[in-house]
Amino acid sequence: MNHSKKFYTRQPIILTSASFVRVLILILSTALMLMGCHGDEPLPKGKYEHGIIVINEGNFGAANGSVTFYSAPSGDVEQNIFRNDAGDFAGEVVQSLTLDGDIGYMVINGDNKIEIVNHNTFKSLGTLSDELLDKPKYIQIMGRQAYVSVLGPYEEGGYSLVDSYVLVFDLDTKEVVKKIETDEGTENLLLAGQYLFASNYNYGGSNTVAIIDIATNTLEDQLEVGSGPAGLVADVNGDIWVLCEGDFGGANGTLVRINPNTLQVEKTIDLHVNPYTDLAITPDGENLVYTAEGSVFMISISAETAPDEPLFIAGNVVNTYALDINPENGDIWIGDAVNFASVGSVFIYDAEGVFKTSFTAGINPRQFTFK
């Protein structure tokens, strides 16, 4: 009662010119303070700034390769966030995405082009294409140069690769500046120091890793490793690891360690399985993760032999098509292509292999980008 009376009898605020100035100063200073806050925490760069990008190849011949956005931690999923200028999807066989600052380079294997996007908004910034860009696979950026692994043409009247290479683009002119010949079936790329490492996979038909000196854009060497070298990672010591698939049905996959300074093979570990092509590394850079027939294996970089037991069995995964580890929290991500005909799924396990969650992606999920 008393309180309300006091409130009721309170003087109304009448702004004198002096008090008006004071209020104005208050408002302005608040505004300035708020603007200052924005300076510390910049405005979001776009809808897709933080989260995980899933690259989905799509069906062969249907031009429905797509990009899925998974928003962590909400778990919201948005399908098909990028469409090329003519189609309803990103393109024919979307192979990989590589980030460089705010720019993303998306390799469209079937369309023989590279879509350049702002990966925070997935707005198109143009494309890279060239007559020599024939079945591109992966891309790495160093300064204003882009290195693209290219499978190249098939033999006349057949499906054997006859001329694979790494193509160097100048990103300012968008022109090819160099074609560096490699063994057939060049796929994964890894930049380490002054070298670019490129695995010559060729479905098990090649067995070398090309080493390219990026100062001169010349082939330094092609190191012999196991059959079908594919996934490439660098460990905590800077050593390069190559996952080799082995011979078809031969259960003779290997993990090979390359010294990035001497450019020599230092260690080869027999895996006694034919692993899937993708190789992942834990956030501490101490353990490597690979899969074979639905089992996920973890091996320390100091191990001498392959583990007998898998870390876990991904029981719900029908056909592993992508494997990676979230560097933020060590979660193991697996892309499931299911039957290669219907939409695929992504399964997320924690670092110990305990299932966390899964979500529907596009057709044939092939690669994850954590950002």
Partner: protein, 625 residues
């Protein structure tokens, strides 16, 4: 080249024809009557393509015109590119295409590519809807398309020329003549297009989609006596196509050439022992993809006999033999060779208002246990008071599809122990007519088991397995009517089909398919044709509607193709002078400029135009008796 040769042939024909007329009139060919297929398929629905409309649209491939005439879906991999049929909720492998009684589905893929079946090559086109393996053998689950050449020629000379958008030309030339006891007819056709149509919703044009297709059909009939004749049918089709790439691909260099030779010799005799027909022939199908030749060669023998038993029971027995040689590089160093034999018998009997048909067929395929395939159908005239007629019909059948040569012999993947797909199909329907208005309605159901799917094994290799079970239910309705008012006449047809084609069971890795509609199988399909004539003027409106099609087995809406409606419009004028008949037509295709796709990622053109010129020489009127 082919065409130039044809021109020469035509001139020769015209000369012969003129000379032949000097001493004789156009000879009546030998008449040998057999009962049409429909009779042995009493209880089901067979549609004959309207010959006027067929002639008007003869420059298009069958996949383009059937989708306007019937509620059938075609998945075309672009404009003028490969085209697969989907009838009654089945896949393209579940429709048997037969040319003069010979199955011409690809024996490697199991399906027919309708884009290399040019309407101009056929004298008659019939479509049997529903299960018909008992008469048409492997693959006749959704229906059968029956093509024939060598019918009695209607015009001594026919010529047609078209010019169209995107650098499209079409030329056809047909000639026939009759000297003494020999009738010969020749048909030549050629179509080509740059096919660089503007991509809907983009500033670009479709790259790399040019095509050239041409062919020759030659028929010879020797009348050996009034009741015996020998027929030779030869058809060669050649297609050379840049493969239209998916939207957004501007670098594709893929090309495909098709070379199809089909040759048959048929001896027919009709006497008191019945109608005997003996055929021998060959089919040579070649696909040359990026220079790699894949070939399936077949020797074919067919014998059939039709006879009317006491009590007016019609009997037809037959045997068909296919000797198949698989010359595909994908089959490995050893060419698989196999013999397939089908034995069949059919009975048909009319009992006052009731018509009954019973057929059985037993195929024999090496290392495959093919089932016995019966068909039982009945039709009953409920009302037959002119002008009001109502017929009800029903049929049931067991059908099958043999594993393809790819399924059996693909190196390191094919399985020799695959079993055939089998189905049970049933249908009820009615045909109702008052004056010139007809209504046809059918409700159908089919269960297909042991459906062959290529499934990835744990090592990533795809191999075929008998795994899927599909349940199909649906209905079709068709209405047609014709009216005339003095010089003005009009006719119209309207078709609609509702099709639920659902995966019931499948491989463990494909569980997301279960309970879902098959891909590229629209639930709703409709078509309509409105044709009107005023004196020598004609106008025709073609319409088709296709509902949503899923392109992904789990029916994800992200990948579904949107429904669309297409309208084509044609207007024509003709002039007749004595036996000469000249026609001029202007045709607008996709009048509403609708953006649409028939297959994921493959563009189809917007509004485009064709100008057509036709010339026909009519037969000389018969001498009075």
């Amino acid at each position: 080249m082919l065409l130039r040769f044809g021109m020469l042939l035509m001139i020769a024909y015209a000369g012969f024809n003129a000379r032949a007329q000097v001493d004789s009139t156009w000879l009546e060919p030998v008449t040998i009557y057999g009962l049409p297929e429909e009779v042995y398929l009493a209880g089901s629905h067979t549609i004959t393509l309207d010959s006027t409309l067929q002639q008007q649209q003869d420059s298009r491939h069958l996949g383009e015109i059937l989708s306007f005439q019937l509620p059938i879906y075609f998945r075309n991999y672009g404009n003028g590119m490969s085209s697969g049929i989907s009838m009654r909720g089945t896949s393209p492998q579940h429709v048997a295409v037969r040319w003069n009684g010979i199955n011409i589905n690809s024996f490697s893929l199991g399906q027919a590519d309708f884009s290399i079946l040019h309407t101009v090559a056929f004298d008659a086109v019939k479509v049997h809807v529903g299960g018909g393996s008992a008469r048409f053998g492997s693959g006749a689950l959704g229906g059968s398309v029956l093509l024939s050449t060598g019918e009695d020629p209607k015009h001594p000379i026919m010529f047609s020329q078209e010019f169209g958008s995107f650098g499209r030309y079409f030329t056809s030339l047909k000639g026939s003549l009759n000297i003494r006891n020999v009738t010969s007819s020749t048909s030549l056709y050629r179509t080509q297009s740059k096919n660089n149509f503007p991509l809907p919703g983009s500033n670009h044009r479709q790259p790399h989609a040019a095509y050239l297709q041409q062919g020759i059909v030659q028929t010879l009939q020797f009348a050996l006596s009034p009741s015996r004749r020998l027929k030779v049918n030869y058809w060669y089709h050649y297609a050379d196509r840049e493969i239209q790439p998916t939207i957004g691909n501007t670098t594709s260099q893929d090309t495909q050439r098709d070379q199809n030779h089909r040759l048959s010799f048929t001896y027919e005799q009709n006497n008191r022992f019945g109608l005997l027909s003996l055929s021998g022939g060959l089919v040579d199908d070649k696909i040359i993809y990026n220079g790699v030749v894949g070939e399936i060669f077949r020797w074919i023998g067919i014998a059939s006999h039709q006879y009317t038993l006491p009590k007016k029971i019609n009997l037809s027995v037959g045997v068909e033999w296919n000797h198949i040689i698989g010359k595909m590089p994908d089959y490995g160093p050893e060419q698989p060779v196999e013999d397939r034999i089908d034995v069949s018998a059919s009975l048909q009997k009319n009992l006052d208002r009731l018509s009954l048909a019973l057929s059985v067929r037993q195929p024999f395929i090496p290392r495959v246990s093919a089932p016995l395939l019966p068909y039982l159908g009945a039709e009953f005239d409920l009302i037959r008071k002119n002008p009001h007629q109502l017929k009800i019909r029903a049929n049931g059948s067991r059908n099958f599809r043999a594993p393809t040569m790819n399924d059996r012999y693909w190196q390191d993947a094919g399985r020799d122990d695959l079993q055939p797909e089998t189905s049970y199909a049933a249908e009820v329907g009615l045909d109702w007519r008052i004056h010139k208005t007809t209504l046809t309605a059918s409700a159908f159901a089919q269960t297909i088991e042991e459906w062959i799917q290529w499934v990835p094994e744990s090592n990533g290799v795809f191999r075929p397995v008998n795994i899927k079970k599909v349940g199909i239910k649906g209905m079709e309705i068709g209405v047609s009517s014709a009216r005339s008012w003095g010089n003005l006449s009009a006719s119209g047809t309207l078709n609609y089909a509702l099709t639920h084609s659902i995966t019931k069971e499948t491989h463990a890795s494909n569980q997301s398919e279960v309970g879902k509609q098959l891909i590229y199988t629209p639930v709703h399909t409709g078509s309509a044709i409105l044709d009107s004539n005023y004196k020598t003027w004609s106008a025709t409106l073609y319409f088709q509607f296709t509902g949503t099609r899923f392109t992904e087995a789990a029916n994800s809406p992200v990948y579904a193709l949107d429904p669309f409606a297409l309208v084509d419009f044609s207007v024509g004028k003709s002039w007749s002078f004595q036996r000469h008949h000249l026609g001029v037509y202007a045709i607008v295709k996709n009048l509403l400029d609708t953006p649409y796709k028939l297959y994921s990622g493959r563009a189809m053109p917007g509004r485009n135009y064709t100008f057509k010129l036709t010339y026909k020489l009519n037969k000389k009127p018969h001498e009075p008796f």
